[in-house]
């Protein structure tokens, strides 16, 4: 059955492999060059490579996934496959598992090159969302999740292209939700409050040499002293002047002036808080997010098996 799976999905796997090799070559070129020269063209090329790395797991996962179910049902070849001597469940798993493994290996290889590349271009710590998304183990999770969503969509909709669009939009939506809502909480946030509360405080006094080195900045603003988040029901206030109509000078320039605190923050009993995920939490977040996508993939495959066993063809 491994041969069957390979033969049915050969074209998709070869295309994925080709794109992976192309991306690896492009990363090798743009990653090495950035160490010496840094021109606009290199930046453009890096952006292009990043776009490919960003899209590849979802696109390839969806294409492989809908091929397993929707294409068979659209072309009625499942009527051939499902009347042979094996059950529908075994047929689905036997055709799916080999491509899932092959695709995962391809994604793991490309993301390990990407992890080197992200460090080589040296623009930001890899915990930054755009770099986080293309490195580590999450690309494998994205691939498996999108593939399972494609399989599920193909179990519901008979049209390959429609199932593909549904699964693609669903997978992109899932990635956006996880990235913005779930990922910040996958490891305990670090709060930084007292550093800025004093005369002459600026970002440059933050340990590690400034804001970018902190890590992935999640929230910042003025909150009541003793808290690391706003009062329930209140937004984050980026400037004191926005707080309760309290008359304050706008924070300007390179740093926080002493007067800001004496005039506004102290009477109002506010302090400035920064919530962030430090670079050291990279693997915690990677493992958590990849785990979410793999678990969702398993659930989607289970649901697809349930639906396919019940479906009338």
């Amino acid at each position: 059955m491994t041969w069957v799976s390979w033969r049915l999905h050969r074209t998709q796997l070869l295309i994925i492999g080709t794109l992976a090799v192309l991306a690896a070559v492009a990363m090798a070129m743009t990653g090495v060059r950035s160490t010496s020269t840094s021109s606009l063209a290199v930046h453009d090329a890096q952006a292009l490579v990043w776009g490919l790395l960003f899209a590849l797991p979802v696109a390839s996962g969806v294409v492989v996934g809908v091929t397993v179910t929707a294409r068979e049902r659209e072309r009625f070849t499942n009527r051939l496959a499902w009347t042979q001597g094996i059950s529908r469940t075994r047929w689905l798993l036997a055709t799916l598992v080999p491509v899932a493994v092959a695709g995962s290996v391809a994604m793991a290889l490309i993301s390990s090159v990407a992890s080197w590349w992200v460090a080589a271009i040296g623009q930001a710590p890899r915990i930054y969302p755009n770099l986080f998304d293309v490195s580590g183990v999450v690309p494998v999770g994205y691939f498996l999740g999108s593939m399972a969503l494609g399989v599920l969509a193909g179990a519901v909709f008979r049209s390959e292209s429609f199932a593909g669009w549904v699964a693609g939009i669903g997978a992109v939506a899932a990635r956006i939700v996880v990235r913005t809502v779930v990922r910040p909480h996958l490891a305990p946030m670090v709060h930084l409050a007292p550093v800025l509360n004093g005369p002459g405080s600026t970002w440059s006094t933050v340990p590690g040499g400034g804001e970018p080195a902190l890590g992935w900045l999640l929230n910042q603003g003025w909150v009541p002293v003793g808290r690391t988040t706003p009062l329930p029901g209140h937004p984050w206030f980026s400037s004191l002047s926005a707080f309760n109509g309290y008359r304050c000078p706008v924070v300007t320039g390179s740093g926080f002036r002493n007067s800001v605190y004496s005039d506004c923050a102290d009477p109002a009993r506010l302090h400035f808080v920064v919530n962030y995920q430090p670079p050291s939490h990279y693997w915690l977040l990677q493992a958590g997010e990849a785990g979410i996508f793999v678990a969702a993939a398993a659930a989607a495959i289970g649901l697809a098996v349930f639906l396919l066993r019940r479906s009338s063809e």
Binding site: W3, R7, R79, L80, T83, G85, I86, R88, E313
Partner: protein, 342 residues
């Protein structure tokens, strides 16, 4: 693995276990009913023809028997086991869909390799021999083959699993006469050697006439007739008489009134001569003819009220049922090759 049935049992009298038996089989689609309380059985070893117009439920029945579609209600046993769609693995059942689904980008020999991987029983030698006999190139991509060649591949894939039951949905549709003959001959040779039961649906009765030994007529989702072909032939009579002659005894399937004469299709065990009004048997204007299979099928499909599958014993039952079957009624029939579908 065959069931060990010897060749030559084809056409044996009924009494063996049925290869397929359905009871009250019903399938609702939201656009209408495909099968309505349909009950019949096919004895083992038979080559059964499943005929009926479009929408009579032939394909639905075959897909249910193959475990592809689940019925709304009712039971179906195949080779003595109940079929549950999606659960049952039909190891001894072969099925060829009417669209003859194959993987267009795969070569013929790749299909064989795939089928070998997906079946416990696979006769590679038989598959290769059949395909060369049917003049199908092994190395060709299936998408490049003609419709007839694809049908040959589909039937070969089915035969090489050495099934005890084959379900063939319109296997001959849109094939040219040469391909038809070739495929049918090869199929018959193999199934009679293996003792396989075959249920074959078709619009074209003439294709089935010489080869099938069992007949099921489906109409509006119900089996209006299900019996051995010999009984069908022996049990139907075409009575032609003058306009004013009384109805013949037996189950009158159809009555056609022309300007001068009336034609009845009568279903009874005995030729319906004695009961006719002339006293001394047939008068000069009464004639009893042996109808063709075509005429029998058409009569059952144009009958005003579909009745039970058992012929009525007492005379006169259903006699008035076919009043006014005329030329207009005949034109509604679709007993023709409807051509390739999608």
């Amino acid at each position: 693995m065959t069931d060990g049935q010897l060749p030559g049992t084809r056409g044996a009298p009924d009494g063996g276990a049925p290869a397929v038996e359905c009871r009250g089989l019903t399938k609702h689609y939201w656009r209408g009913d495909a099968l309505v309380d349909c009950s019949f059985s096919v004895p083992e070893g038979r080559l059964a023809a499943l005929v009926g117009p479009n929408g009579a439920g032939k394909s639905t029945f075959l897909r249910i028997a193959a475990g592809l579609t689940r019925p709304t209600s009712g039971d179906i046993d195949v080779l003595g086991e109940p079929i549950v769609s999606g659960r049952t693995v039909a190891t001894h059942v072969g099925y060829v869909d009417q669209v003859r689904p194959l993987y267009r980008r795969l070569r013929v020999d790749e299909h064989l390799r795939m089928a070998a991987a997906m079946n416990d029983v696979w006769d590679q030698a038989m598959a290769v021999r059949l395909l060369s006999q049917l003049e199908v190139p092994l190395r060709a991509r299936v998408g490049r083959l003609s419709v007839g060649q694809q049908a040959k591949v589909a039937v070969t894939l089915c035969l090489a699993t050495r099934p005890r039951l084959m379900l063939l949905d319109e296997p001959l549709a849109s094939l040219d006469p040469v391909a038809r003959t070739m495929l049918m001959r090869a199929l018959l040779a193999e199934v009679s050697e293996m003792g396989t039961t075959v249920v074959l649906s078709s619009h074209v009765i003439s294709d089935l006439d010489p080869v099938c030994d069992y007949l099921i007529i489906l109409r509006d989702g119900q089996a209006v007739l299900s019996e051995p072909m010999d009984d069908v032939r022996a049990g139907h009579h075409l009575v032609v008489a003058g306009r004013d002659a009384p109805s013949p005894p037996g189950d009158v399937v159809t009555e056609e009134r022309g300007a001068r004469q009336v034609r009845w299709m009568v279903r009874s065990h005995e030729p319906p001569i004695g009961g006719l009004g002339g006293g001394s048997g047939e008068g000069p204007d009464v004639e009893v003819l042996r109808p063709s299979l075509d005429e029998i099928v058409v009569a059952h499909l144009t009958r005003r009220h579909a009745s039970a599958t058992t012929p009525a014993d007492d005379g006169g039952v259903g006699a008035g049922g076919a009043d006014g079957v005329d030329g207009a009624g005949q034109r509604d029939l679709v007993i023709a090759d409807e051509g390739e579908r999608a």
